[in-house]
Symmetry: C2
Subunit: 253 residues, 2 copies
């Protein structure tokens, strides 16, 4: 054990799987929470919002939430678990487009083409809130706050392409990736310094446009620099400031 830390094993991090028994907490951290609140928990409109939501799942690791070419009928908020979206070109090469954590929304890029342009694959056992898009649009017409919320969701996703931008080194991209995940977990109320990487090294590499071997090497280097602790897919950020510094060119602010 070359780690300077006492424990031989990383303790289990808090499991970022929403408690099905705690609707209020989950909804409070969901990307739709402000829309739901705007609709009014105590107004008749809420009933309509509830109407168009359907809880779906579980999906096991590797199962598809939707597939490329499926007709677009709904968007999905991740309720628990993790999802990757990906495209597969005709030579069979996979391209990972993004990872989605509890509270985040998938499927928005299907509105225009009216068919899903990518696959969504569960990385963990996952549950979702399914929002019928026609019903959601109709509601948005009647409740400006819901419309505004949808515009904001779409616009927000437009701004999140920056991890891939620029010709940055493997270290910069990896540091930015870890800090991005940390920030997104923190935004949903989970630990920002200890979490589980639901995706494989290969998926991370693919997403960051690196080779899987490079991801492994960078993580090893970060560990030897005491920037992180990592055992398998359990991660602890030991020096978030240094990581933020490393990835600053790719991170917001």
């Amino acid at each position: 054990m070359d780690s300077k830390h006492p424990a031989g094993r990383l303790p289990e991090p808090p499991n970022p799987i929403a408690d099905d028994g705690d609707e209020t907490h989950f909804c409070g951290t969901c990307a739709f929470s402000s829309a739901c609140i705007a609709a009014g928990y105590n107004k008749p409109e809420l009933a309509q919002l509830q109407c168009l939501v359907e809880h779906v799942g579980p999906f096991r690791a590797g199962e598809h939430i939707f597939r490329t070419g499926d007709p677009f009928r709904a968007i999905f908020a991740v309720r628990s678990g993790t999802v990757k979206t990906r495209m597969v070109d005709k030579e069979g090469r996979e391209q990972v487009l993004g990872f989605y954590l509890p509270g985040e929304v998938i499927g928005l890029n299907a509105i225009y083409p009216e068919h899903f342009p990518c696959d969504a694959v569960a990385l963990d056992t996952s549950f979702f809130c399914r929002f019928s898009f026609p019903a959601m649009s109709a509601l948005a017409s009647r409740i400006p706050a819901v419309q505004k919320h949808l515009f904001r969701l779409l616009s927000k996703e437009l701004g999140s392409a920056s991890l891939l931008a620029g010709d940055h080194s493997a270290d910069e991209r990896m540091a930015a990736f870890l800090m991005d995940l940390a920030g997104r977990y923190a935004a949903r109320g989970f630990s920002a310094t200890r979490f589980h990487l639901s995706m494989s090294r290969g998926d991370i590499a693919n997403y960051l446009r690196l080779a899987a071997e490079t991801v492994s090497r960078v993580l090893s280097r970060f560990r030897s620099q005491n920037l992180i602790r990592i055992e398998g897919r359990e991660l602890e950020l030991l020096n978030p400031d240094a990581l933020r510094q490393l990835g600053q060119a790719l991170l917001p602010d």
Copy 2:
């Protein structure tokens, strides 16, 4: 003259600057056309749509349409000219996010942050239709087709990040870039095989995450392979099929 083609100079391509005297044609190719049509050219709503549109310009090459941090109040449809959007990090390094041609819309990524997250810089003398976003939202609430159109615009832009995706060779990225431009010009009624590159080699390189020298080398190679003719910024695609083939991994379908 090492070219096998008879003419010593490339003829001037059709100038993709909308004819101000031909409103109908421009609006027919604008990204908002279907919204305008949906609003109904002969209904009272059209008056409202006209109300919230303001023609702005000219902006000369190098002038800003908006700057990072400006409060978000409107989106802009390019009426004529070309625009690049870019972010500048605190070390002063520029990152080109995209190029926008006549009929395309800029500013959508500012809805969520409520401030523009990037600069928009004219590459040509340019004119715009400015759409007040609050007014547009209000109209969208009353006219479902307008709302739908905004959703589609936003979603479409989500799907257009693919040129940057993947770790592809300089040749693949350049070929895909040229074919993407060609397709977008064609969609607006301009020539798909002869057009002017309004952006510098440096801007192309930055956008494609290459060095300017690499862009220059790739274009020279394409020329020597008779895939293109290029003189300065005047471009002719001599073998679009081969270029599409080269860039297929990055192009839709």
